[in-house]
């Protein structure tokens, strides 16, 4: 195995009783990249990640983290990775600073060293003035920042972030994504799951789109958008009566499209013209926009509501 591989997965499956959560996936994640696992609720992305950070047992298949087998060397793996779980899991019995120190003690970091690192991380995460506050009194954004600080206390080589911005207000989200850019600039390996496609598009070097426990596609966001959607998207609203008529005209001109209720998104390929669609469709609610990872996601995973 080459040394630039951080995670190597072969035919990985995970079953809970009879339910298949992860269904034979294979994947490589490289050192220094920011990798996104995207997918609807219950797709298996969090379970896949849990197996990587050794909090879920592998049912079958191979999984190596930093060249170490998760089945045997989980203790060493855990001491070299950092995890920010979906539920922050902060300890309500302790203050902000104590949360970091107690966690550092589990990593067997000597006390004086732990103090230094905790103070530095609290400064970095803009939490130093709250260090003696009980974690119960923190806002959602501050809790998440503390959970991130906790995940960094052992100077990890790979950082796992499960839904790092879910449930946060826009300001807190922006702050956290900016912080991840800072981590990225320091050549950390980041692996994250998220629902926010525009953020994944900006942040991630590569993404894997997962549904029903399988990987639907892997690649750079820009490449996926270009290959699966095209150069632009023309979107218009119509009514059930005119819908079929319009779709017929689009088909005749060789346009691909996806329909969500009464909204049609026309996927304009490299060799096609978006203006042409506007000419074909007599709708006043029509506009041309840049394609996004969201379009890729909806195309591959469909648009039905998912219940967990």
């Amino acid at each position: 195995m080459s040394t630039n591989v951080a995670i190597e997965i072969k035919d990985l499956t995970k079953k809970y009783d009879d339910k298949v959560a992860v269904d034979g996936i294979s994947l490589e994640i490289y050192k220094g990249e920011c990798f996104g696992l995207l997918g609807p609720n219950g797709a298996g992305k969090s379970t896949t990640m849990k197996m990587m950070y050794c909090s879920a047992l592998v049912t079958s298949g191979e999984l190596y983290v930093l060249g170490l087998n998760v089945k045997k060397n989980y203790r060493e793996i855990k001491s070299r990775i950092g995890v920010v779980p979906q539920e922050d899991g902060l300890d309500p019995d302790f203050t902000v600073l104590e949360n970091l120190l107690v966690y550092a003690s589990f990593h067997k970091i000597p006390k004086s060293e732990a103090e230094l690192r905790a103070q530095a991380l609290l400064r970095l995460m803009k939490l130093e003035e709250y260090q003696d506050r009980s974690v119960e009194t923190l806002s959602g954004g501050m809790k998440r920042r503390l959970a991130i600080a906790r995940g960094l206390i052992n100077s990890p080589e790979v950082i796992f972030l499960d839904e790092p911005t879910t449930g946060l207000d826009p300001q807190a989200r922006i702050w956290i994504w900016d912080f991840f850019k800072h981590l990225k600039s320091e050549k950390s390996t980041l692996i994250l799951t998220t629902h926010y496609m525009e953020e994944a598009e900006q942040m991630c070097d590569r993404v894997a789109i997962i549904d029903n426990g399988r990987i639907l596609t892997v690649g750079k966001p820009r490449d996926l958008i270009r290959d699966l959607i095209g150069k632009e998207v023309v979107e218009f609203d119509t009514n059930p009566v005119d819908l079929n008529y319009y779709l017929g005209r689009l088909r005749a001109e060789g346009f691909a499209y996806q329909v969500i209720k009464d909204t049609v998104s026309v996927l304009v390929k490299e060799n096609q013209e978006g203006r042409r669609v506007v000419d074909l469709i007599a709708s006043d609610k029509i506009y041309i926009r840049k394609p996004t990872l969201n379009d890729v996601f909806l195309k591959l995973a469909g648009h039905q509501l998912r219940d967990e």
């Binding site: 809970y16 950070y53 909090s55 879920a56 047992l57 989980y74 203790r75 060493e76 855990k78 001491s79 995890v83 779980p85 539920e87 899991g89 902060l90 300890d91 309500p92 019995d93 302790f94 104590e98 107690v102 966690y103 003690s105 589990f106 990593h107 067997k108 995940g151 052992n154």
Partner: protein, 262 residues
């Protein structure tokens, strides 16, 4: 779980000490208040039953009622404190606080979590025993070095009930689940294990059942050691407690490990 697993030795490393320390750190913050509440209840029992009711009882086979009752009070304190820490305390950390799941993100594994938690609940039960012992010193109830010999037995009893508490935690669906174990097991045990009256008072059938209660063995051992010193009977009772602790410890390792590693 195979039969021999009940007697195996869990592989644990020093991470267990960090888990214990986490609990101790929290205890240190509130130790005066929490020790007050831990010791308050036994002291009320000491007053109400030992001195109050005991004043009407003349002879308990060569000892005063308070002499008869005090070893039981020490034992029930160890049992209750360790059991409640092992159930309510551990269940909170297992479910609502997700403390164990967070610890599992570090190099500390489920074995160390269980070992650290069992040791902690046992320690807390023992702190309760020490508190009651100090109060009893003030009342002049302790006049012998033999209390030193009784303390390890009380620690062993705390350890046993911390394991039993952990097993109940592994089966609990919510906090209400513990009402069954408390009302169905712990309270009857605390009343019928030769605590408030001698076992000979029990109907014959029930007397044999009482010998299944670990508390019976602990009370008998502590009473024997405080009044007669270390005899063969003490050794037999202690061996029974050791065996029960070993088996319950292995069951709680097995159960909680299965809960934490899915």
């Amino acid at each position: 779980m195979k039969f021999k697993d009940y007697f195996s030795r869990p592989k644990v490393n020093s991470g267990a000490f960090q888990v214990w320390s986490r609990n101790f750190l929290y205890f240190k913050k509130t130790w005066l208040v929490s020790l007050f509440w831990i010791v308050l209840e036994p002291v009320i029992y000491l007053g109400a039953i030992g001195f109050g009711l005991g004043a009407f009882v003349n002879n308990m086979g060569g000892m005063s009622y308070i002499e008869f009752f005090f070893p039981a009070l020490l034992s029930t304190t160890a049992m209750m404190v360790a059991f409640f820490e092992g159930t309510y305390g551990n269940y909170t950390k297992l479910t609502h606080q997700k403390t164990y799941a967070t610890i599992m993100l570090t190099r500390v594994g489920p074995e160390e979590i269980v070992a650290g938690e069992l040791l902690w609940a046992a320690s807390k039960g023992f702190f309760g025993v020490l508190g009651v012992t100090v109060v009893a010193l003030f009342f002049g109830l302790i006049d012998s070095y033999r209390i030193i010999l009784a303390l390890p037995i009380l620690f062993l009893l705390s350890a046993l009930f911390s394991c039993i508490g952990m097993i109940f935690t592994s089966f609990a669906r919510n906090y209400d689940s513990f009402i069954y174990s408390t009302s169905g097991l712990i309270v009857p045990m605390s009343l019928l294990s030769g605590t408030y009256f001698p076992l000979e008072q029990l109907p014959v059938g029930l007397r044999y059942i009482a010998y299944l209660s670990p508390l019976t063995h602990a009370v008998s051992a502590v009473r024997e050691i405080l009044h007669k010193g270390p005899t063969l009977w003490v050794l037999i009772h202690v061996l029974i407690l050791l065996l029960a602790t070993w088996v319950c410890m292995n069951i709680s390792f097995f159960r909680i490990r299965k809960k934490l590693l899915k």
